[in-house]
């Protein structure tokens, strides 16, 4: 998912160079090879959507009526809608409130709080659910879903909003104050509109995660489209009902995208005019300090404390016995292997499009970006279902191999790599490449020595984020993993669905440990990205 797609799109001034077009050879839109490659990759990324559309088309109206317009789907619709409509606003409020407290007030220990508020991302949602179900066995229904989702996903709003707040130009607020607005009015009429972009992006991310989430809800007997699709898959492999549910889910996702792009609006958010930007001033809290600290403490306890406590509790209950067995090592190695292979592959695949977007913006690039935007919203289960069906019927050679699983990961996580790569490539403007060429280096040599070199740190950051995503990925892995493959997530799932919570605990711990450095990286990256 694109963590900073919305924030940087507007904040980075697009036309530093008035210059257009490519060098001597190549089309206006960029070097031919790169354009073709990007188109191929974009077409590949449309496979899941294409699959759903084709399946729906083939099904015929009668089947669609029978399988889509039935009470069960109504239930799922209600559940899913309720989940999204309740969780997202709460996440937005929590995210903005937390970000504001941490970035713009004189909160004690705000540096520590900043990290703590981002940390819940290191805990996969299904581990969170596992902990909460251990604590409250009867947890379930919409409210159970809302609770666990909110606690797992509010950082997705917090992080971009905090990044924007930390870099927001105080001159805007000062202008507001000088026009007679009081502090609360300044917040609502000057600060909040600036956050619209980041908050909308975060809200979209949360919604898409909610739609795609399986493990967390399956563990607490809460049915959404994704859990129902997976149930259908378990019963019919890839029967018509599963595909129909998938098409409704996809429709949802596309509507969300539409909503987000409308909310984003077209206004400028960066400072107009020259002059250096001063650092934002922090508001003194006075006696609001204590409630503020309590609020953040409560949030952290719920989002971090509860899961960690229960994981540790089950670890202790399980004792040494759960740590033996080569299964753990095997799963760990496979997770690492897939994580690294997936991260590398995804970064490589994202490169052509990132290059085109930064160096050769134009109509073709816009279309490709749009395609990427749409395909990035597909839930894991739809991607997996599509790949399974397509490979089993059309490309049996790769069916059930690591190649398909890595391909699924690439499809799911390309946006993360893309966003980072774009930011990195923006750091390596065309002028540097040209300067290198004027100094006698052939174009390819200049590209490697200058552009690649300069964008490498950002690329590595993107790869790390993809790694994070892969470690925590469950649904696609369950469907696509080759025989004998186990990952930390699938093993965790196998144990916890048998209610062997103790057996699942070591896997949960390992997943959290692997995710922590990446989460920190994400947090650090977002701060830098907003400053582009």
């Amino acid at each position: 998912m694109s963590f900073f797609q919305s924030t940087t799109a507007e904040l980075a001034p697009g036309s530093k160079s008035r210059r257009r077009a490519a060098g001597g050879r190549g089309t206006r839109s960029g070097p031919l090879a790169v354009v073709v490659l990007s188109i191929l990759i974009a077409a590949f990324s449309l496979l899941p959507l294409g699959y759903v559309v084709v399946m729906t088309g083939n099904a015929g109206w009668a089947t669609i009526q029978k399988l889509v317009f039935r009470p069960r789907v109504g239930e799922l619709l209600f559940n899913t809608l309720a989940l999204v409509l309740i969780t997202v606003p709460i996440c937005v409020v929590l995210g903005i409130a937390g970000a504001w407290l941490v970035e713009r007030t004189r909160l004690r220990g705000n540096k520590a709080w900043a990290v703590l508020l981002a940390a819940p991302l290191a805990i996969p949602a299904f581990v969170n659910s596992y902990a909460w179900v251990s604590a409250i066995p009867s947890l379930g229904g919409v409210w159970g879903g809302v609770l666990v989702s909110t606690l797992s996903y509010f950082p997705l709003v917090y992080i971009p909003v905090a990044a924007v707040l930390s870099r927001m130009d105080p001159a805007l607020e000062q202008s507001g104050a000088s026009l007679g607005l009081g502090p609360w009015q300044v917040f609502f009429r000057v600060v909040l509109p600036q956050l619209r972009l980041a908050a909308a992006g975060g809200a979209l991310l949360v919604s898409l995660h909610l739609l795609a989430e399986y493990g967390a809800f399956a563990m607490m007997q809460f049915d959404t489209f994704t859990t129902a699709i997976y149930d259908q898959f378990r019963s019919t492999f890839n029967g018509a009902a599963a595909n129909m549910l998938a098409s409704v889910l996809v429709l949802f996702c596309l509507l969300l995208l539409l909503g987000e792009s409308k909310t984003r609006g077209n206004a400028r958010y960066a400072r107009l005019g020259g002059g250096a930007q001063a650092n934002p001033k922090r508001l003194a809290l006075g006696w609001y300090q204590v409630p503020g600290q309590l609020f953040l403490a409560a949030l952290s306890v719920l989002a971090l404390g509860v899961p960690l406590f229960h994981v540790v509790r089950w670890l202790i209950a399980g004792g040494a016995a759960i740590w033996t067995g080569s299964a753990l090592v095997h799963a760990l190695l496979q997770t690492l292997g897939y994580g690294l292979a997936g991260a590398l592959m995804t970064t490589v695949l994202a490169f052509p499009l990132a290059y085109l977007v930064i160096r050769h913006p134009g109509p073709v690039t816009k279309v490709l970006e749009g395609v990427n935007y749409i395909s990035s919203s597909m839930p894991g289960i739809v991607v997996a279902l599509a790949l399974v069906t397509i490979t089993v019927h059309n490309v049996p050679a790769v069916y059930q191999t690591a190649v398909v699983l890595v391909a699924a990961y690439a499809l799911l996580f390309m946006p993360r790599a893309l966003v980072n790569l774009r930011a990195g490539l923006a750091q390596a403007p065309k002028e540097l490449d040209e300067a290198a060429q004027a100094l006698g280096k052939a174009p390819l040599v200049a590209f490697v020595k200058v552009t690649l070199r300069l964008s490498a740190p950002a690329a590595a950051g993107g790869a790390a984020l993809v790694f994070l995503g892969i470690v925590n990925e469950l649904t696609a892995t369950l469907l696509l993993a080759p025989n004998g493959t186990t990952t930390l997530a699938t093993e965790f799932w196998a144990f916890s669905s048998e209610i062997d919570y103790a057996g699942a605990a070591p896997y949960a711990l390992l997943m959290i440990l692997l995710s922590t450095p990446m989460t920190y990286l994400l947090f650090a990256q977002s701060k830098k990205a907003a400053g582009q």
Binding site: G23, P429, E434
Partner: protein, 384 residues
């Protein structure tokens, strides 16, 4: 912040520090009929330009006039749609030939220097050098001295340098390969005013000492006039005029060029022979292109305040700039003999013109003055 520039110890006429490699032919640049369009808009509409060896040319024009595009064509970063470019007699771009940028032996200094942020100053300068090690280090020191910087700067990072220093390092980097031609793309526009002048002087000195053929692109006409041997004025994709700074300034080929290169006082006038009759009297014009009603152009510094002259005016207001003041004067209406019939070909007076004067006290608003004109004027055909 005053830049720390080491003053060149040698006199301007000393032996050039940069001795062209004997095997290296430093001939001239020839651009012929260059055309370039971007997405349907024609940016260059047929440009012809010649630059002699060792000379500096400034291409000056407003933003969007196409000057940067022309530079990029010469550098090889873009390909022209039509026309040819030859360097030292070798055709490098044209229907039959294409030499890519990295093979053209053209040095390029971009608007913001474009120093590689991941390399040190020394590594930046060495970037294009084929040698490494001690030979390269020696050359780096030599080049830094050439741009009046201390060789110890080689170890610093570009981010630790000021804007002016970065530009000079960019110049040193480009010079390292002893290019046939140096291209400077508005290299001083990103610098603060005080830094700009000093850096400009250093760069100009370095390039003339080195004897390198140079093309500078700028939108600042003062920069173009002071820096170059030859000024090419670009407007709307074509070169409106090419000539020495003195010529293009004092004898611009058309009104737009005249107004672009400096303040111009344009008056309605009628030609009679080689005299232009206007509200400031009869002004001699060398080789007038037309007769009859014309625009007469004078530079503000040609109009002086005098005692007891026949041309009178009244100060409307002044703008004080410190060393000089711009004085806006309304010329007195020219007396019309009531008895005679009104001659439509007579100047009527009453225009408001700008002149410059060093003494603000003399020109307070409301003051009545008399004026005289020094030197020749330039006329352009009349247009509404």
């Amino acid at each position: 912040m005053t830049p720390t520039i080491r003053r060149a110890a040698k006199a301007p006429t000393a032996k050039p520090a940069f001795i062209p490699d004997p095997g290296h032919v430093t001939d001239h640049l020839l651009v012929s009929g260059a055309r370039k369009s971007f997405g349907g808009t024609e940016v260059l509409k047929g440009v012809d330009l010649t630059v002699a060896q060792g000379r500096t040319t400034a291409i000056v024009g407003a933003s969007g006039s196409g000057k940067t595009t022309l530079l990029r064509l010469i550098a090889g970063f873009e390909a022209a749609d039509a026309g040819t470019i030859s360097l030292a007699g070798v055709e490098v771009a044209g229907p039959a030939a294409w030499v890519p940028a990295h093979k053209r032996s053209v040095g390029y200094v971009a608007q913001d220097g474009a120093l590689f942020p991941h390399l040190s100053v020394g590594q930046n300068i060495e970037f294009g050098l084929p040698v490494r090690g001690r030979a390269a280090a020696a050359r780096v020191g030599e080049l830094l001295e050439m741009v009046s910087m201390d060789p110890s700067y080689a170890r610093r990072r570009p981010s630790q340098l000021s804007g002016g220093q970065q530009q000079r390092v960019a110049l040193a980097r480009a010079l390292a390969r002893r290019p046939q031609l140096m291209l400077l793309d508005e290299p001083f526009s990103a610098l603060d005013a005080g830094l700009r002048v000093a850096t400009r002087r250093t760069v100009s000195q370095t390039l003339s000492d080195a004897g390198v053929t140079t093309i500078l692109v700028t939108h600042d006409q003062a920069e173009a006039l002071s820096f170059a041997d030859q000024v090419a004025v670009m407007r709307d994709g074509k070169l409106a005029q090419i000539g020495s700074p003195f010529v293009v300034y004092t004898r611009p080929s058309d009104r737009a060029t005249a107004e672009f290169l400096g303040d111009a006082v344009i008056l309605e006038a009628w030609m009679e022979g080689s005299l232009a009759l206007c509200s400031l009297g009869g002004i001699p014009v060398r080789r007038p292109p037309v007769q009859g009603r014309v625009h007469l152009m004078l530079r503000p510094e040609q109009i002086r305040i005098t005692e007891g002259g026949s041309i009178r005016g009244r100060v409307v207001d002044t703008d004080y700039f410190g060393p000089e003041t711009t004085v806006r004067i309304q010329l007195a209406p020219i007396a019309v003999d009531p008895g005679k019939p009104v001659d439509p070909h007579q100047p009527v007076g009453g225009e408001v013109i700008n002149i410059r004067h060093w003494n603000a006290m003399l020109a307070r608003p409301g003051t009545e003055l008399s004026l005289k004109v020094v030197g020749e004027g330039v006329v352009f055909p009349w247009s509404e």
